[in-house]
């Protein structure tokens, strides 16, 4: 049972990177489909389409960020060696990872749908780019809040 804490914490880091990453991949995929559709009509819209397609990608980065944060906290990066962790602390770190894991996963998918709709919109009205960017950003708010929650929780957990 000596390493249960470490395992739990790593499980949390894995969830953060994996779930948020999956969400972003799906979201970007959805938006990419719409972008390709619009570009068959007008290849010149590549620039705006790419920006809108990239928007649901941030959740994956947030997940990665939290995963690195955890690895750093555990001392697994660099040669210093892992810190000692009891199972309670491990569970706390796992809990800290959940906000960005779950919200990142789900919000990226929905942001991808909104991005796809926005891409359709600039297909018809290229001048509405400003509004088209804001609509997906509204969804991302909750991923940012989840990221913040995860960060603050992680900072609060005492290890070592």
């Amino acid at each position: 049972m000596e390493y249960l804490g470490l395992s739990l914490a790593l499980f949390g880091a894995a969830l953060a990177a994996a779930l948020a990453g999956i969400g972003s991949a799906i979201g970007i995929g959805i938006a990419g489909g719409a972008a390709a559709g619009v570009m068959t009509e007008d290849p010149n819209k590549f620039g705006s389409c790419l920006i809108l397609q990239a928007l649901p990608g941030t959740q994956g980065i947030y997940g990665l960020l939290i995963a690195f944060f955890v690895l750093n906290k555990l001392g697994l990066l660099g040669g210093a060696g892992a810190v000692a962790l009891n199972w309670n602390q491990g569970l706390q770190i796992l809990a800290s990872c959940l906000p960005i894991a779950v919200v990142g996963w789900y919000s990226a998918i929905w942001q991808g749908r909104t991005s796809a709709a926005s891409i359709q919109m600039i297909g018809k009205k290229p001048e509405a780019m400003g509004k088209a960017i804001i609509l997906p950003a509204m969804v991302e708010t909750y991923a940012v809040l989840a990221l913040l929650t995860s960060i603050l929780m992680l900072m609060g957990v005492q290890v070592g």
Partner: protein, 667 residues
């Protein structure tokens, strides 16, 4: 500052000079022609004729642009073009070019080449089909003319059949013994182990039994294929012949493509210039087509910025003294278009307002109000001194290298130049230089970094969270005050107090109360804050019940309005993204440095990998974080800030201008 004042101009002039007048108005780029507003407005007949003639030429120009541009290899890179490296021409030069260019001839040439290409492609696809049929007819030992032409007595067919039906058809032909001597069945060889779904089979028979043979074929499901009638030799001979035909056609196709490339290389530069020329003319004619006319006089109405009116009057009077220009202020029932008129420091932010919606002519221009907040927020989100330096340096390099950047593009780039400064400042304050580059690789500089640090989001994020939320409160309260000012300006005192000032009192009061309780302010702020909050809440409560005769409903409305304070809570918390995004870029930078540091431990090539990881990683980080740092502060302006006072809804000022799609046209 703000929305530019416009005059409504009415210009009377003699018909004989209408082209010069229209050209002059277009060249100033400061006149938005007003449509006459009549439903069945009759276009002046002279202009009608010009338009239809111009449209005809434009159709050719568009055809050429569409067809030739994909074949054109621009010697100047696309990025340089975007940044203004384009030919500079005057309208007079363009007119000369138009006169000496035989567009019709170029069009005819291009159409001929296109047409021929189409024909060659058609032939090529036929030949390829035939070749693919031929490749499966190798089993047939006789010349194909037996099938396609036949002899006096014999004819034949080729078809496909399932291997298991081959026995059946042989038996049927055998039973049909009196004809068997005249009939030959040839089946393409196939392996018994791996039977293909279908095999080719040929049948040669006497013309006299055609009907019976067809019957047998149908019963044993041998379905004949169409053998092109041009095939007469053996399959192998024909295969060779068609390989020759195909390579000949392919050579022809390549030659035609070369011709099109040459046509494009030769003509596209001129066609692009002419495209701008004729599009300019089209805009000009369609603009003046909105004029009214009598037998000899025309009347054109347009909006013009007040400060440009004199310049236009001089230009017009230089053309003909027999003109009359009257300038009037817009009447209260008119809704003129809005033109943002901001100084050099604010103008780059115009695009942020325009992306949302232009203000109404008589409305508030939010640009100077949002500019400082956007600047600070962007800086906090990107928040890295190193990234600030990179962006600043890159933009300064672009500005030095490219002198002819279009004004709109230049303003947009300048926006990021400004924001790179705030990024640098916040990076210094928060001790972030390419993430934790200084801690990781430049330990001697740590004391300098620490000396300049005012906040430390890494070890004390609550401090930065507090600053973010405080900025949020300031931003929102500023928005409320603007809304109140706007209402007071229009004499709506009760609405200003009930809707905006009341909330201002409540929220500022609550903040003072809370901060005072926390011991960060002298204790009497607790009382002041509390009093403000109560006054605010009472006003909100009363104002919500205004106009409601039923007392119970008054009370319900009042409580509902106070419940709206939760939306302010949400608004304020929304500013926590400033911490999160700034934190995000710092941690991504840290991760990149960490990976670089790990890579450096690899023997021999480690340093190289480390450099690649660190440089590439930070470039990626800058790109992805600029997107986030642009979008999120923008959202704070649009949703939280504009939500308090701004709706936009104005028509942007769209003056009659010269078309500059491909070249820079000077008057």
């Amino acid at each position: 500052m703000g929305v530019a004042r416009l005059k409504k101009a009415e210009l009377y002039y003699h018909k004989s000079v209408h082209e010069q007048i229209a050209a002059a108005l277009q060249e100033t780029g400061a006149c938005q022609i007003i449509s006459s507003g009549e439903e069945n407005h009759q276009r002046p007949s002279d202009i009608e004729a010009l338009i239809s003639k111009n449209d005809e030429i434009l159709a050719d120009v568009r055809y050429l642009t569409r067809t030739l541009t994909p074949h054109y290899v621009d010697p100047v890179p696309a990025l340089d073009r975007m940044l203004g490296e384009r030919p500079e021409v005057t309208m007079a030069e363009l007119e000369e070019l138009a006169a000496k260019t035989n567009l019709k001839a170029v069009c005819d040439n291009t159409r001929a080449v296109e047409h021929e290409t189409g024909e060659v492609r058609l032939k090529l696809s036929d030949a390829r089909n035939t070749a693919s049929i031929l490749s499966s007819l190798g089993f047939f030992p006789y010349p194909l003319s037996v099938i396609t032409e036949g002899t006096k007595t014999l004819t034949g067919l080729i078809g496909t059949i399932k291997p298991e039906n081959v026995g059946g058809i042989r038996a049927a032909l055998g039973d049909f013994s009196k004809y068997a001597q005249d009939t030959e069945l040839i089946v393409a060889p196939f392996s018994e182990k791996e039977k293909p779904a279908e095999v080719y089979a040929a049948l040669i028979y006497s013309r006299s039994i055609e009907d019976e043979i067809r019957d047998i074929c149908a019963k044993n499901s041998l379905s004949p294929i169409e053998v092109p009638s041009s095939l007469t030799g053996t399959a192998d001979e024909e295969k060779e012949r068609f390989a020759g035909i195909i390579s000949e056609l392919e050579a022809k196709e390549a030659e035609l493509a070369g011709k099109l490339d040459a046509l494009a290389q030769e003509n596209v530069p001129a066609v692009q210039k002419l495209s701008d020329y004729y599009n300019s003319l089209s805009a000009r004619y369609n603009g003046t087509a909105m004029s009214d006319e009598t037998d000899s006089v025309m009347l054109t109405r347009f909006w013009v910025p007040t400060d440009r009116a004199d310049e236009i009057r001089q230009k017009i009077e230089a053309i003909s003294p027999e003109t009359e220009l009257t300038l009037d202020d817009p009447s209260p029932d008119e809704e003129p278009p809005s033109l943002l008129n901001n100084g050099n420091m604010v103008r780059p932010f115009n695009i942020l307002t325009e992306l949302y919606s232009s203000p109404k002519y008589r409305g508030i221009d939010p640009t100077p109000l949002l500019a400082p907040f956007f600047w600070i927020f962007f800086g906090m989100c990107l928040g890295d001194a190193g990234y600030g330096i990179v962006v600043f340096g890159l933009i300064m390099f672009v500005f030095r290298k490219y002198k002819k950047i279009a004004p709109g593009v230049k303003d947009f780039i300048t926006l990021f130049l400004f924001c790179s400064v705030s990024t640098f400042i916040y990076g210094v304050i928060s001790g972030s230089f390419f993430g934790n580059f200084i801690d990781a690789f430049l330990p001697p500089l740590i004391p300098l970094k620490n000396a300049l640090m005012l906040v430390d989001p890494m070890t004390n994020p609550m401090q930065v969270l507090g600053i973010s939320l405080l900025l949020g409160v300031i931003h929102l309260m500023f928005g409320l005050l603007i809304a109140a000012y706007d209402k007071l300006r229009h004499g709506e005192i009760i609405d200003a107090v009930g809707n905006d000032i009341s909330w201002f009192l409540l929220i500022v009061g609550l903040c003072l109360y809370g901060v005072g309780l926390g011991g960060m302010l002298p204790p009497h702020f607790v009382q002041i804050g509390g009093a403000m909050a109560i006054i605010g809440a009472v006003i909100i409560f009363i104002y919500a019940g205004k106009g409601e005769p039923n007392y119970i409903k008054k009370v319900i409305n009042g409580f509902l309005a106070l419940y709206g304070s939760t939306s302010y809570l949400g608004d304020i918390l929304s500013y926590s993204r400033l911490l999160a995004l700034g934190f995000g870029s710092a941690v991504i930078g840290m991760v990149i440095n960490l990976l670089g540091g790990l890579a450096a431990d690899i023997p021999y090539v480690g340093w190289l990998i480390a450099v690649v990881v660190i440089v590439g990683g930070h470039i990626f980080s800058i790109a992805i974080n600029i997107l986030g740092s642009f979008v999120h502060p923008l959202r704070l302006q649009y949703v939280e800030f504009f939500g308090k006072f701004y709706n936009g809804g104005g028509e942007p000022f769209t003056p009659l201008t010269l078309s500059q799609e491909f070249v820079n046209v000077k008057a």
